[in-house]
C-alpha cells in the first residue's frame, strides 16, 4: 500500500516538473565549433586561392561576361576551414550560422540534404568585376581588385623612390592582356624583371 502511495505521489509530482530532455542542437556550442565560412565582400579580391585549396571542391569560380563570382556551395562544404587558412586577404571566417538561402526562396528554410536542383542551396557568393585590357578591351581572367592588391603589395616592398618610378609602368603592365603585352613589350620596355 505504502509503495503504491509513493508511486502515485511521484506520478503527481512528475506532472508539474519540467521535461527532463534538454535542447540539444545549439544548446551547447563549442568554442571551436565551425559552420559555413562567411566571406567579407570588401576584402575578397577573387584571387582563387580558396578554390585551389578547398578540400571538398565546394568553392568555385565562375567567370561570366566581365564578372567573376566566387562562391561556396553550402551542401558540399565540410566546414574544414582550410579556405580561411589560406586566404591571403583574411576575407573568410568560419561562422556559426548557415549562409542565407539563395534569393527568392523561403528564408526560414534550413540546409536540406537533398541535392535536387530546385532546392535552395545555401551559397556564399561574392561578385567581382573582371579587368579589361587597357589596350584592346578584352576581358582578362583576373579581377580588378586582385591586380590592385598585387600592385599595392609589390610597391609596399620597394623603396619609395623606386616605387615612384615603376608605379606607372607597372600599372600599364598588369592591366594589359597577355597578347597586347607581347605586342607592346619592346616598345614599352616593361619586362617584369624591371620591377624586381
Amino acid at each position: 500500500m505504502l509503495e503504491k502511495l509513493k508511486a502515485s505521489g511521484e506520478l503527481i509530482a512528475n506532472f508539474f516538473k519540467r521535461p527532463v530532455t534538454v535542447k540539444e542542437s545549439f544548446g551547447f556550442v563549442a568554442e571551436a565549433f565551425r559552420w559555413l565560412p562567411r566571406r567579407n565582400d570588401d576584402l575578397c579580391t577573387g584571387c582563387g586561392a580558396c578554390v585551389e585549396r578547398c578540400s571538398s571542391g565546394a568553392t568555385s569560380i565562375t567567370d561570366r561576361g566581365d564578372t567573376r563570382v566566387v562562391s561556396i556551395d553550402g551542401l558540399r562544404c565540410i566546414f574544414c576551414g582550410r579556405c580561411a587558412e589560406v586566404c591571403p586577404e583574411k576575407a573568410l571566417e568560419l561562422t556559426l550560422e548557415d549562409a542565407p538561402p539563395a534569393q527568392g526562396s523561403d528564408p526560414t528554410a534550413r540546409v536540406s540534404l537533398s541535392r535536387g536542383a530546385e532546392e535552395p542551396r545555401p551559397t556564399v557568393d561574392t561578385v567581382l568585376k573582371l579587368q579589361r585590357c587597357s589596350v584592346c578591351g578584352e576581358v582578362m581572367p583576373v579581377t580588378e581588385k586582385y591586380l590592385d592588391a598585387i600592385k599595392e603589395r609589390t610597391l609596399r616592398n620597394l623603396k619609395p623612390e623606386t616605387a615612384a618610378i615603376v608605379e606607372k609602368d607597372m600599372e600599364r603592365y598588369l592591366k594589359t592582356c597577355i597578347n597586347c603585352r607581347r605586342v607592346h613589350s619592346l616598345e614599352w620596355d616593361t619586362h617584369p624583371r624591371k620591377f624586381i
Partner: protein, 539 residues
C-alpha cells in the same frame, strides 16, 4: 620540459627477384617477424611493384623490413605465401583482384572485393565493341560464378540484430548444419570508395581530410598515421604541444570508440539497455571532443607538422571535468555489465582465440591482447607523446569474447588516465603548435599507429610534387575480420553476434544463412522451407 625523440620507423627495403620472396618471407617469419600486409603498385615501365611488410614487434621496436619485387606487367606472377603464413591471405586476394597479379598456389583465390559476376562483366562474355565504349554488363550473372560459398544457392534470412550505425556493407554467409556453423565467408567491397586512388590526385593537405573520412570512429588515427608518414617524408617533427594534443585526441577517440563497441556487444547479444547506457556515458566524451575540435566526428585538428588550432587551458579544463564525471559513471557501467550473469554467460568461452593462434594468425589490437599476446604499437614503436605519459598495456589471458570485452573496458579506463595526464600537461605548456614543411623530397615512408581496433599502417610515397605518388593503407579490421571468420567456423549460430561484437569489426548487416541437410550434405534452399517465396535472387 617535454622531450620527444624522432619517431619514424626504421625501414629496410629489400629488393628481390619474385621467386625469392617465399624463401625470404619464411626466413623473416622464423626470426620472429610478423607479416603486416602485402600491397602492389603499378609503376608503369618498371612493372608491378609488390611490397611485403614485416615488423619485429618485441625484438626491435622500430625496425620494419619490406620485401620488394617487380613483376612483369604483361605476365605478373608471384608465388603465394599464404601457405606459409595465413596472414597474407586477404592481402594476396587483394593483389589478385585489384592489380590482376596471378598469385600461384593461393589456397582460396575467391572474390573478396569485386562483384561476383566480375568475369562476366569484363573478361569473359564481353563483346569486343564494349572495350571501346567501356560499358559494363551489369545484369545478374547468367551462370553462377566459380564454386564459392557466397555463390551457393541460398536465400536471404536477416540474421541476428544489427546496428544501423554500421555503414560499411559486408556480406557474411554461413553454411549451417544444425546449429553449428560449418563454413563462413565474407564478401567485401560493396562500399568501395577508392580512397587511395583519390589521394593520388589531391595534394597532401586535401588528403588529410580524405583520410579523416575513411572511418568515423577512428578518424584521428587515420589522419595521424597519414600525417606521420608525410612528416617523415618532409623531415619535420611536430612540436611537443602538438604531440600531446594528438595523444589526447587519439585517446579520447579510443574512449568513445571502445564505449560504442562495448555497447554494441550488448546490443548484438540482445542487451540493448547496455548500448543505451554506454552511449549515454560516451556522450560526455563526445562533448569533450566537440569542445576541443569543434566537431563530434571529423575533428580536422591534426595537420602536417602539428595541429591546426591550439587547445586552450579552458578547453583542457572542460575535458578534465568531463573525465572527472566519467571516472564515476564508466566504472559503474562496467560493473553493472559484468555483474549481469546473462551477458557474461553469453560471452564466456565463446570464440576462444588461443595465444598461439593469435600469434599465428596475426591478431592485432584488443583481439590479440585478450589472448595474452601483448602487442601494441603505442608500446612497440611509440609515437606522439606515448613515451612521456604513464600507461600500460591492458591484457587478458583467456582469449574468449568476455576477455575481449574486458580488454576494451580496461583500455577505456587506461585511456582516461592518459587523457588526464595530457590535459594537465597541455595546460602547463605553451609554445608552437605547427612546424613548417619546407620541401617534399622523393622518398617513401611507412607509418603505424594503434587505433582502437588494432594496428594501422600507411605507406606513402612522394615524387617531389604536391601530390603523393601512391598511398597504401592497411586497416586493422583487415586482419581481425579474417580471424573473426575462423572463430565463427565451428561455433554455434547463436554465438556469431557475440563473436562479431567482441572482435568489433567495422562491420555491417547483410547476413545470410544456408542450411545443409545433415545426412545428404546438400544445400537446402530456405525458400522451399518457409512457404513464402523470398524475392531476393541467389547471390
Amino acid at each position: 620540459m617535454l622531450k620527444i625523440n624522432r619517431q619514424s620507423l626504421k625501414l629496410d627495403f629489400r629488393e628481390l627477384a619474385p621467386e625469392a620472396i617465399p624463401g625470404e618471407a619464411t626466413a623473416l617469419l622464423d626470426k620472429g617477424g610478423r607479416m603486416i600486409y602485402a600491397s602492389a603498385v603499378d609503376m608503369g615501365v618498371q612493372g608491378i611493384q609488390i611490397n611485403y611488410y614485416f615488423c619485429f614487434d618485441h625484438q626491435e621496436p622500430y625496425r620494419h623490413t619490406i620485401l620488394r619485387a617487380y613483376l612483369d606487367r604483361e605476365n605478373p606472377v608471384v608465388q603465394s605465401i599464404t601457405p606459409i603464413t595465413s596472414q597474407a591471405d586477404w592481402s594476396e586476394r587483394e593483389l589478385i583482384e585489384f592489380l590482376g597479379v596471378r598469385v600461384e598456389g593461393h589456397p582460396n583465390p575467391t572474390h573478396l572485393w569485386l562483384p561476383l559476376n566480375w568475369e562476366d562483366m569484363y573478361l569473359g562474355g564481353r563483346p569486343e565493341a564494349d572495350h571501346e565504349t567501356e560499358r559494363i554488363n551489369a545484369s545478374p550473372p547468367v551462370k553462377l560464378p566459380k564454386e564459392n560459398i557466397v555463390t551457393l544457392p541460398m536465400s536471404a534470412i536477416p540474421y541476428g540484430p544489427y546496428h544501423p550505425a554500421f555503414i560499411e556493407s559486408n556480406y557474411l554467409k554461413m553454411s549451417v548444419e544444425d546449429e553449428v556453423v560449418k563454413k563462413a565467408d565474407l564478401k567485401l567491397g560493396f562500399n568501395h570508395r577508392s580512397v587511395i586512388k583519390l589521394m593520388e590526385r589531391r595534394d597532401y593537405y586535401k588528403d588529410i581530410f580524405l583520410s579523416e573520412r575513411i572511418c568515423g570512429l577512428c578518424n584521428s588515427h587515420h589522419v595521424l598515421t597519414f600525417v606521420k608518414a608525410v612528416e617523415d617524408l618532409a623531415g619535420v617533427e611536430a612540436p611537443p604541444k602538438a604531440q600531446l594534443a594528438r595523444t589526447l585526441l587519439c585517446e579520447m577517440e579510443r574512449i568513445q570508440s571502445h564505449l560504442m563497441a562495448i555497447g554494441l556487444i550488448g546490443d548484438l547479444t540482445g542487451f540493448r539497455t547496455m548500448l543505451m547506457h554506454s552511449l549515454r556515458v560516451r556522450e560526455d566524451m563526445q562533448d569533450g571532443l566537440e569542445a576541443i575540435s569543434g566537431q563530434r566526428v571529423t575533428h580536422g585538428l591534426i595537420t602536417i607538422g602539428g595541429i591546426r588550432r591550439d587547445i586552450t587551458a579552458s578547453q583542457a579544463d572542460f575535458v578534465l571535468s568531463k573525465l572527472k564525471a566519467m571516472k564515476k559513471s564508466v566504472p559503474e557501467l562496467f560493473d553493472q555489465c559484468l555483474s549481469n550473469d546473462v551477458l557474461v554467460g553469453r560471452l564466456k568461452d565463446v570464440g576462444v582465440l588461443t595465444r598461439e593462434n593469435a600469434i599465428k594468425l596475426g591478431a592485432i589490437g584488443p583481439t590479440a591482447r585478450a589472448s595474452g599476446h601483448r602487442i601494441d604499437v603505442r608500446k612497440n614503436s611509440p609515437y606522439a607523446a606515448y613515451e612521456e605519459v604513464d600507461w600500460d598495456i591492458v591484457s587478458e589471458k583467456s582469449g574468449d569474447s568476455l576477455a575481449r570485452l574486458k580488454v576494451k573496458m580496461g583500455e577505456v579506463l587506461m585511456s582516461m588516465h592518459i587523457c588526464e595526464q595530457c590535459c594537465d600537461r597541455i595546460k602547463a605548456l605553451s609554445g608552437p603548435i605547427l612546424a613548417k614543411v619546407k620541401e617534399m623530397p622523393c622518398a617513401e615512408a611507412v607509418a603505424k599507429t594503434e587505433p582502437p581496433r588494432g594496428e594501422l599502417l600507411y605507406h606513402v610515397a612522394s615524387n617531389g610534387t604536391n601530390t603523393p605518388d601512391f598511398v597504401r593503407i592497411r586497416v586493422p579490421t583487415f586482419l581481425n575480420a579474417h580471424i573473426m571468420l575462423r572463430l565463427i567456423q565451428g561455433g554455434w549460430v547463436g554465438d556469431v553476434p557475440a563473436i562479431i561484437g567482441s572482435i568489433d569489426p567495422c562491420f555491417s548487416c547483410t547476413d545470410r544463412v544456408t542450411i545443409i541437410k545433415k545426412d545428404e550434405q546438400s544445400v537446402v534452399d530456405v525458400r522451399t522451407l518457409g512457404g513464402r517465396r523470398c524475392s531476393t535472387p541467389p547471390g
